[in-house]
């Protein structure tokens, strides 16, 4: 049975006259990996900080594993692991001492503490580096130590703010594999990032934020297929392309995006797979010599830009 791990309702936060977060609501289920995407100043970091109990919202509610983040932040803090975009590095401290310090802060004692530190170092692959000073680590190594610190108290929810920012490709791959393992272990992971292609590979669902409001909450595939505006199909025919044009005019629910010598691009008003299959069948039955029928998927970046454009259009229309 699914369990809501993060529940956000009507979240609002202003800084002076600037409304950073206007009205954000969403639910995240146990074991989901959710990407949090937004343009500059969309309110991502503010929302994440409110979820992490680091900011108090002006209005709205945040519940983590059923605990109220505003009334009882201490209960929430024991359930979340926070990986900030910038990993603060203490001076004169080795990786082992750093993790030991946080293990003590999380009330681990004696042998239990030593075991937990070892587990976390093994998981993040920093055991061989344990005697190195943390202010001398590379960005990727630092991010692994930071993830290790966030995992020390075995949190149920992991909040990651731009975890892959500034990492080289190898370090990104390592981080991605660690996130995958954590997701398989049943942890709920909420990641904010601008590297959309990477998010689409690891996230189950995505939340798009624009000007402090949620624009889209759903799967990446659904978004890429352009669920809300229909399906785009590239069609090539042996016949004259005018035949295709005539066929489109006879069939409601299908529009012609553009036409060329060998075919064209069609837009379906509905996004169901059944309709696409039925259309292909009809085309062949009605005499069109179809040599190519390919569903065109948007990249996540273009889907994101489309979403932003749609939002802008709505704003222009709304008086």
């Amino acid at each position: 049975m699914s369990q809501v791990m993060i529940s956000v309702r009507g979240l609002k936060r202003s800084f002076g006259k600037l409304e950073a977060v206007k009205d954000v609501s969403f639910d995240i289920q146990r074991g989901q990996v959710v990407g949090f995407i937004g343009a500059n100043g969309a309110g991502k970091t503010t929302t994440m900080r409110m979820i992490a109990t680091l900011e108090i919202p002006d209005a709205g509610e945040v519940h983590i594993c059923g605990e109220d983040a505003i009334d009882d932040p201490n209960a929430v803090r024991s359930k979340i692991g926070w990986v900030p975009d910038e990993f603060g590095r203490y001076q004169n401290m080795t990786i082992y001492e750093y993790l030991d310090f946080f293990a003590r802060a999380f009330d681990y004692r004696d042998q239990e503490r030593l075991n937990r530190i070892q587990e976390v170092m093994d998981f993040t692959g920093v055991t061989d580096l344990k005697d190195r000073f943390i202010d001398k680590l590379s960005k990727g190594q630092g991010q692994r130590v930071c993830l290790g610190r966030a995992l020390l108290h075995d949190p149920e929810v992991l909040l990651m703010d731009e975890p892959a920012a500034g990492l080289d490709p190898k370090a990104r791959m390592e981080l991605k594999s660690l996130i995958r393992i954590l997701a398989e272990e049943g942890k709920t992971i909420f990641i904010s990032s601008h590297i959309l292609s990477e998010l689409s590979e690891i996230c189950d669902t995505m939340i798009f934020l624009e000007q402090g409001q949620v624009l889209h909450h759903g799967g990446a595939e659904e978004l890429k297929r352009g669920a809300k505006e229909g399906v785009c199909i590239k069609v090539k025919v042996l016949n004259d392309s005018k035949v295709l044009e005539e066929w489109v005019e006879m069939n409601p629910g299908v529009r012609l995006l553009y036409l060329n010598n060998k075919g064209g691009r069609l837009i379906f008003d509905e996004a169901s797979d059944e309709l696409v299959a039925e259309t292909l069948k009809r085309m062949i039955n009605e005499g069109l010599q179809v040599i190519e029928f390919k569903r065109e998927e948007k990249t996540l970046e273009s889907a994101f830009v489309d979403l932003l454009n749609q939002a802008e259009d709505k704003e222009l229309v709304t008086p």
């Binding site: 800084f15 002076g16 600037l18 950073a20 343009a39 500059n40 100043g41 970091t45 992490a52 109990t53 680091l54 108090i56 009334d71 009882d72 932040p73 201490n74 803090r77 024991s78 979340i80 926070w82 900030p84 910038e86 603060g88 590095r89 203490y90 001076q91 004169n92 401290m93 001492e97 030991d100 310090f101 946080f102 003590r104 802060a105 999380f106 009330d107 004692r109 004696d110 610190r149 108290h153 731009e162 920012a165 601008h194 590297i195 959309l196 292609s197 970046e301």
Partner: protein, 540 residues
């Protein structure tokens, strides 16, 4: 329990010791102290074959040399303690662990004190060497040593707390270091000198051990009160530090009241005043969250919890606190058989004043802005009750000219000025329909000075006797009198007003909201975040 504390110390203490023992500053201070001690000891032992130990000058030189690293350098090292966490952006990670603000601040303080004690241990051989050279009063030497360590602890606490102001106002950190340096150099050494002189020559030629005991008893509470100021700055909004702070103030007062029965000196009144003044200022300048937090622990008890919600009758605020004090004073005074009819009459008047003030504060508390002024008003009432308590012990006539009255008067003027300035600033911000900012505070203080000066000039014209012009204009507004008049008094008044203005401005800068407004920190942070976001989007 002790074994557990040793095996599992405060995590911050563990971290700070790991870092601190590798830091160059600690090693530097350690070496400087050893060099100074060797030179001082050689000078004492070498001159006149050690007999000069009886000389007060050499004793002062010896302890002065010890005091410099303890009272100035070690506390100054602590000024970076919280600020470094802010700079490294590690404070949020501490919040999200199970460390409370109290444990963070106490851990920082303990680690610095442990380092101080380590250095203290290394100077003990020199103290012993001096003892064997002869002519040393061991008790006085020990008391001086303990005093230095305690004053060092107070300085360290002040540094740690001041450093915590960086959480909400990182830009004024350098200014705070400068202010603290001046305080440590001029304040602590003078205070230490005064204290040791009192220990040696006060109390009728010998050591006043009762005062010393009071000092020792009070010091931990005073230090905690100073540290609690830092805790409020660091505290995430869920933490309730108010209750502990109030109980701590109450403990200091209780010690004072008990000690009053055993000694006549007014010196212990200073720490009490210090605690109350600090809490009063914090009450006015701290963020709203610090007020709201008192209610959080009782919220779950529904209707009963509501009774103790802010501005409700059972809310444990400063006024209830003042009521407790007055009741305590009355019990003490009723137990005193020497009371005359006039003093017993006052025992009836005091509860009436208390009830009247309670009603006034309840009315004021209905408005959000007034609740702070109200808090201040109530806290200002506590020294008044203290003053009454002192008055009951002695005859009222003699009290009007003794030290306690002077202390009370100065505190009262200080309170009154800040309260009026703050009230005016709030009013100006309301007229302008803006949130309170520095401009409003400057306008309010300037307005107060102008009004006071005009009042003085008008009065001088009316009475045509310049020498009778009261030096401090608040006496036009408050029923307190000082003896300073004429040109000397006016100079004093100018200095006091300048001090008040600067104090108010500094405190205002330290407050969270105004600092954010003034420097527009949040806006600038956001801009820089946006720039970073832009770069990342372009990369993507």
């Amino acid at each position: 329990m002790i074994r557990d504390m040793i095996k599992n110390p405060n995590p911050i203490l563990y971290k700070e010791l790991v870092q601190g023992m590798r830091a160059k500053a600690f090693i530097g201070i350690f070496i400087i102290t050893q060099i100074v001690m060797v030179v001082a000891t050689m000078a004492i032992v070498g001159s006149e074959g050690g007999s000069s130990n009886r000389s007060e000058e050499f004793t002062a030189l010896f302890w002065g040399a010890i005091a410099i690293p303890f009272v100035i350098f070690q506390p100054l090292l602590a000024i970076e303690s919280i600020n470094s966490e802010v700079k490294l952006k590690t404070l949020e990670m501490l919040y999200l662990s199970r460390l409370s603000a109290r444990r963070i601040i106490l851990g920082k303080f303990y680690s610095h004190m442990l380092q101080t004690l380590m250095i203290a241990c290394t100077i003990l051989p020199y103290v012993v060497l001096r003892y064997f050279a002869g002519g040393v009063n061991l008790l006085i030497e020990c008391s001086t040593f303990v005093s230095i360590v305690l004053i060092s602890a107070l300085g360290t606490a002040l540094s740690v707390s001041t450093s915590a102001f960086s959480v909400r106002n990182p830009r004024s950190h350098r200014a705070r270091i400068l202010v603290l340096f001046i305080v440590f150099v001029f304040g602590s050494t003078t205070g230490l000198g005064g204290f040791t002189a009192f220990m040696r020559f006060g109390g009728g030629g010998g050591v006043n051990w009762m005062d010393f005991a009071t000092f020792i008893l009070m010091m931990p509470f005073v230090i905690y009160q100073v540290l609690s100021l830092g805790m409020s700055q660091v505290a995430p909004n869920s933490e309730n530090n108010l209750f502990l702070k109030r109980m701590n103030c109450f403990a200091v007062l209780l010690i004072y009241l008990i000690c009053r029965y055993f000694c006549d000196s007014v010196l212990p009144l200073f720490p009490v005043m210090f605690c109350f003044l600090m809490s009063a200022l914090e009450g006015v300048f701290s963020g709203d969250a610090n007020f709201r937090s008192s209610y959080v622990p009782v919220k779950k008890y529904s209707r009963i919890g509501l009774l103790v919600a802010p501005n409700r009758y059972a809310y444990f605020n400063w006024f209830n606190f003042a009521v407790l004090i007055s009741v305590l004073l009355m019990i003490l005074e009723i137990a005193n058989d020497d009371l005359g009819g006039r003093e017993k009459g006052m025992l009836i008047v005091v509860p009436l004043i208390v009830v009247l003030c309670y009603l006034v504060q309840l009315q004021l508390a209905q408005k959000e802005v007034c609740s702070r002024v109200n808090n201040f008003f109530v806290i200002g009432f506590v020294p008044f009750l203290l003053f009454l308590g002192i008055a009951f012990n002695d005859s009222l006539d003699s009290v009007l000219h003794n030290d306690a009255y002077e202390i009370f008067t100065i505190c009262y003027i200080f309170y009154a000025n800040i309260m009026i300035s703050y009230g005016l600033a709030v009013q100006i911000s309301r007229w302008k329909k803006e949130k309170l900012n520095t401009i409003h505070v400057v306008m309010a203080t300037a307005g107060l000075v102008i009004v006071g000066t005009i009042t003085m000039i008008l009065k001088s014209v009316l009475i045509r006797r310049w020498e009778d012009i009261p030096a401090l204009f608040p006496i036009e507004l408050f029923p307190v009198m000082l003896d300073n008049k004429g040109v000397e008094g006016m100079a004093l008044a100018s200095i006091i007003h300048l001090q008040l203005f600067l104090s108010l401005l500094t405190l205002h800068f330290m407050s969270s909201e105004s600092a954010q407004k003034f420097f527009q920190l949040s806006g600038k942070k956001k801009e820089s975040n946006e720039e970073n976001d832009q770069v990342l989007v372009e990369e993507a």
